[in-house]
Point group: C2
Chain length 235, copies 2
DNA sequence: ATGACTAAGTGTACAAAATACACTAAGATT
DNA sequence: AATCTTAGTGTATTTTGTACACTTAGTCAT
């Protein structure tokens, strides 16, 4: 039957998966959810993702799904790649999981992947009732994930780094208010290098993308830093 | 009925569309095909694209479809974005065309877009029997295309320019052998600027991405230029 | 064969950007 | 008042980018 259909157009399931990177002044993490099948399989970890609905566009879908699964909202998600290997769902556990939650478990699943970057403290995810739990996993210690999600995470990470190296600025991917030290730390974490404080700031000044706020850092036991926001421009 | 399905998972058609840019030492063009419906509509232009088959991955699909529609082969196609607005097929002519050639004309169509850049002389497209004809259209004079293909072309062009500006090198998107002047011309066409010959070459030298061949340009009525290829590395 | 034509190929001086580097300032805590 | 902690700032050097003009190798016409 697979053979008979091989040269026919597919009517695949289409899903979105979200790679949400979080940083906490120390490490870069990824948001994962625990999947429990109705069968006997041990729970496994995977990216938050689900099928696209009939009347929503892809961006809306990503936003909705992330919210439904983790209660995270107000996060800018950037589409970065579609993954569509015919056998990207290729083990029993994954198939069982699809059977548990999806309509056409036998059709292939093409997924459109999004990534984002958030400050962990500002976004405390909670698992949806049906989604096991939600965890922040260190990017350097990611276990085997369901589907092809390890591949998706790796490509997202590569894209994130490119974004930082070339555009040189974290742009949409940050909370509203931040200090320059936080911003620098973030670049260091993402790029995996040490940066010079003065040079980093010099570059920021010229790039003209930051605006100082009338507000200072609070709750620290030392000289409070100036808070900044991005100058509007991008969506 | 659309309402009833609004919050159901969609089983969309999934297609790929190819934005093939061509350059001819003068202008940047895009490869378009003419679509004829079985109805009374005038033919319209669109990107070469079609539905993904059951057992092929997205890259394979793009390669196959481009070949089927235009007989172009051996071209590196780079996936750059999925387009999935629910109403991206939103006029009668497009719907009629889908009805003519597709299985599930009423389902939405999510498309995965690819782009490429080729030297026009090296690739002479011929229309498939069922595909009206194939034309190279100047990018500065693109008429209204079917579906959301104008949007797709614009985003592809933006991506192409980014690629040239940041990576600074045309990489996979070129024929095997070329002269430095050709390469420079290409950069000038894509970026829409004039470049200095000596500076351009100096940069190339440092970037270390080119290898001189044992071969010189032929068929010109002046001093023949050295031919180069890219040093392997990328796929 | 000579001269004229055409694009190839090459170097240097100047400007701009990136890097390396260390001390003073402001607030909090005792 | 003294101490602790992170914020905040400038200059000298190196690297990279830019502006600019002449000589060379081949073809074509006489």
């Amino acid at each position: 039957m697979a053979d008979k259909n091989a040269s026919r157009p597919s009517n695949p399931n289409v899903s979105v998966d979200c790679v949400v990177f979080g940083f906490d002044d120390e490490q870069l993490k990824v948001l994962l959810i625990e999947q429990r099948t109705s069968g006997d399989f041990a729970p496994q970890l995977a990216l938050p993702g689900d099928l696209v609905l009939q009347d929503e566009n892809l961006d809306e879908s990503a936003t909705r799904i992330l919210k439904e699964l983790t209660h995270l909202e107000g996060i800018y998600l950037k589409q970065f790649k579609a993954f569509g290997d015919p056998d990207r769902v290729n083990n029993l556990k994954d198939q069982e999981w699809l059977r548990t939650v999806r309509e056409n478990p036998d059709a292939r699943v093409i997924t459109v992947a999004y990534y984002s970057l958030v400050k962990m403290e500002a976004y405390r995810p909670e698992a949806a009732s049906f989604a096991g739990k939600v965890i922040w996993q260190n990017v350097s210690e990611i276990p085997e994930l369901g589907f092809d999600h390890n591949k998706i995470v790796n490509e997202a990470l590569a894209r994130l780094r490119e974004e930082f190296e070339f555009k040189n600025i974290a742009f949409e991917l940050l909370p509203k208010k931040f200090t320059l030290t936080m911003l620098q730390k973030l670049h260091e974490i993402v790029l995996g290098v040490q940066l010079d404080k003065r040079n980093f700031r010099k570059k920021l000044k010229k790039s003209d993308t930051l605006q100082p706020l009338d507000e200072k850092q609070s709750g620290v036991d030392h000289k409070p830093a100036q808070l900044f926001k991005y100058t509007s421009g991008r969506k």
